[in-house]
């Protein structure tokens, strides 16, 4: 049987466990499709040369009777998640020739479980962008319309899954970088609770915001992949202890919709699809009600202060001294300037400068200090909302995939892509984007995402509600 008929991890698992398909056959199917399609899509920065060896190893383990949720499952990994001995470039010239010296905890868990790692996926440089256009190695195309972006920053991961070039993928989400590309490519994307997946070995962008999460074909797959990578890790002091109580499944759910926030700036037909999604939830016995969340309209501004501040601190480590690009200057200090100037692309440089500005003496109180107060206010406001609802629903993005080049000259318009996604990162709560409906642009059907947010450790709520939207249960 050919791998292309396989539509979910669950299905592949059943086929592998019953011997109807081997891990090598499955992997070969994906390699064939990558060869056929990725010249156009450019989801991958590198397809690993040992995929078949990994698959053979998985077949041996399967033959010996070993069981495991990911044994023999072909996955793609975003290029900012370290895999020992392999290049990890974060789609930047700075790290073009950098080889990871250790495994990220997430990659280590997947390797141990016998997953077949297909390759590393394209992204916006250092995860800064919403389109993969800031990648130093060329943009990824949206499989639904190759004139359009796949979203970002995990755009390569989303396009790989949407283009059937990986069964599932890992991405990272700092302000929407899993959910927005998932929505634009028509796949499922989960931004887990902050700290629920270890950040050890994930290149730091905004340390109080970053989290690794899955991009998959189904909600059940997102659940499976999340279970495989989550858990406390002593190497990440911000990771959530395993004994913390998680929100469990309920018989009846209430979902809140912050309607006032959706009134402007959202495409009309996209909003209609969102309303249809709400109707589907209602039809499944979910109570849908309007809620007031006056603070979240300020979440994007808050985010675009906190994030660059953290970026400017985190990216200070790239100085051309110990690893990464080195450009020789007049003296030691000039080496730093030249290496960073040549290694970082324009968007990365802009964010570092912005972060330096909002943290500088004289402006710190006016920007960073105020943003941290706003963060408290937003957190309090959303927590209050969760006293009366189990989840909050919003579209994932205000519009479907935009054209390549459309927003590159106006950074602010690109930043507005994150308007509905940043709140979850600012507060640290989990959020799920599921594909729900399509809208037509230039006679092409483009997918749109329905987003659900739950309180901390409320992933189960998201999976349960998400499955109602995707007709998985």
């Amino acid at each position: 049987m050919a791998g292309s008929d396989v539509t979910s991890i669950q299905e592949a698992r059943a086929l592998l466990d019953t011997g109807k398909i081997s891990a090598t056959e499955l992997a070969q199917g994906y390699l064939d499709r990558i060869k056929e399609k990725d010249g156009t899509i450019h989801a991958y920065l590198e397809v690993f040369d040992d995929v078949m060896k990994q698959a053979k190893d998985a077949d041996k383990r399967l033959a010996s009777g070993e069981k495991g949720a990911f044994l023999g499952i072909p996955l793609a990994i975003k290029d900012n998640i370290l895999i020992q001995g392999r290049t990890a470039s974060a789609a930047s010239r700075m790290l073009e020739n950098y080889t990871a010296t250790y495994d990220s905890t997430a990659a280590a868990k997947l390797k141990e479980s016998g997953a077949v790692l297909l390759g590393r996926t394209n992204m916006d440089e250092f995860a800064m962008g919403s389109s993969t256009e800031t990648s130093a190695f060329g943009a990824t195309k949206n499989p639904h319309d190759t004139e359009r972006v796949p979203g970002g920053s995990s755009g390569g991961s989303a396009a790989a899954v949407a283009g059937d070039m990986a069964l599932a993928a890992l991405g990272s989400d700092t302000g929407g970088s899993i959910r927005q590309p998932a929505a634009l490519c028509g796949v499922v994307g989960l931004k887990p609770t902050y700290g629920s997946v270890s950040r050890h070995g994930l290149m730091a962008m905004g340390s109080s915001l970053d989290v690794i999460g899955p991009l998959t074909r189904t909600v059940a797959d997102a659940e499976t992949l999340f279970s495989a990578v989550r858990g406390h890790d002593r190497m990440d002091a911000t990771s959530v202890p395993d004994d913390r109580e998680r929100i469990t499944r309920k018989a009846k759910y209430t979902v809140g919709v912050p309607r006032a926030f959706l009134e402007k700036g959202v495409d009309k037909d996209l909003l209609e699809e969102f309303e249809r999604g709400l109707d589907t939830l209602t039809a499944h016995g979910v109570h849908v009600q309007d809620i007031k969340l006056s603070t979240i309209e300020h979440a994007l501004a808050t985010y675009y202060i906190i994030m660059p501040a953290e970026v400017s601190a985190n990216l200070a480590r790239f100085d051309g001294v110990r690893y990464g690009l080195h450009v020789d200057g007049r003296d030691r200090k000039d080496d730093y300037r030249e290496s960073r100037g040549a290694g970082f692309g324009r968007e990365v440089r802009r964010r570092i400068l912005l972060g330096t500005y909002v943290l500088s003496s004289g402006y710190y109180d006016a920007y960073y200090g105020k943003a941290m107060q706003a963060r408290d206010r937003i957190r309090r406001d959303v927590r209050t909302a969760f006293e009366s609802v189990d989840a909050i629903a919003m579209p994932t993005t205000p519009a479907p995939a935009f054209k390549i080049g459309e927003k590159t000259s106006d950074p602010l318009s690109m930043y507005l892509e994150d308007i509905f996604t940043v709140s979850a990162n600012i507060i640290g709560i989990p959020a799920l984007s599921v594909p729900y409906g399509t809208v037509t642009r230039d006679s092409k059907e483009l997918p749109v995402g329905f987003q659900l947010l739950a309180p901390e450790l409320g992933e189960e709520t998201l999976f349960t509600l998400g499955k109602k939207l995707t007709a998985e249960g």
Partner: protein, 93 residues
């Protein structure tokens, strides 16, 4: 709101060479972004108060988890300039 000189100053503070040809554009873009993010003032408390931090320090025992030299070769291989296993840098003084 942000001048060309400001950008030069920030570039110096953050040790990034920004080409002269980009300075005006960056100033313009940053100006627009800063104008937008000033929106946080609508949310910030008037007295400048913050909630008590929900954060606390997480400590762990300082134990060696690798064998001596386990990563040396790989890490040295990343050095832009080296002498044996030592990282060579420009003179500091």
């Amino acid at each position: 709101m942000i001048s060309r000189t400001d950008v030069e100053k920030l570039a110096e503070l953050s040790l990034i060479a920004v080409p002269d040809s980009e300075l005006d554009d960056v100033a313009k873009e940053m100006g627009a972004i800063l104008e937008y993010v000033a929106d946080v003032n609508k949310l910030a408390g008037e007295e400048g108060e913050r909630e008590k931090p929900v954060l606390r320090n997480v400590m762990r025992d300082d134990v060696v988890t690798n064998t001596p030299g386990e990563y040396t070769k790989d890490i040295v291989a990343q050095f832009p300039d080296k002498e044996g296993d030592a990282l060579r840098v420009k003179k500091i003084l």
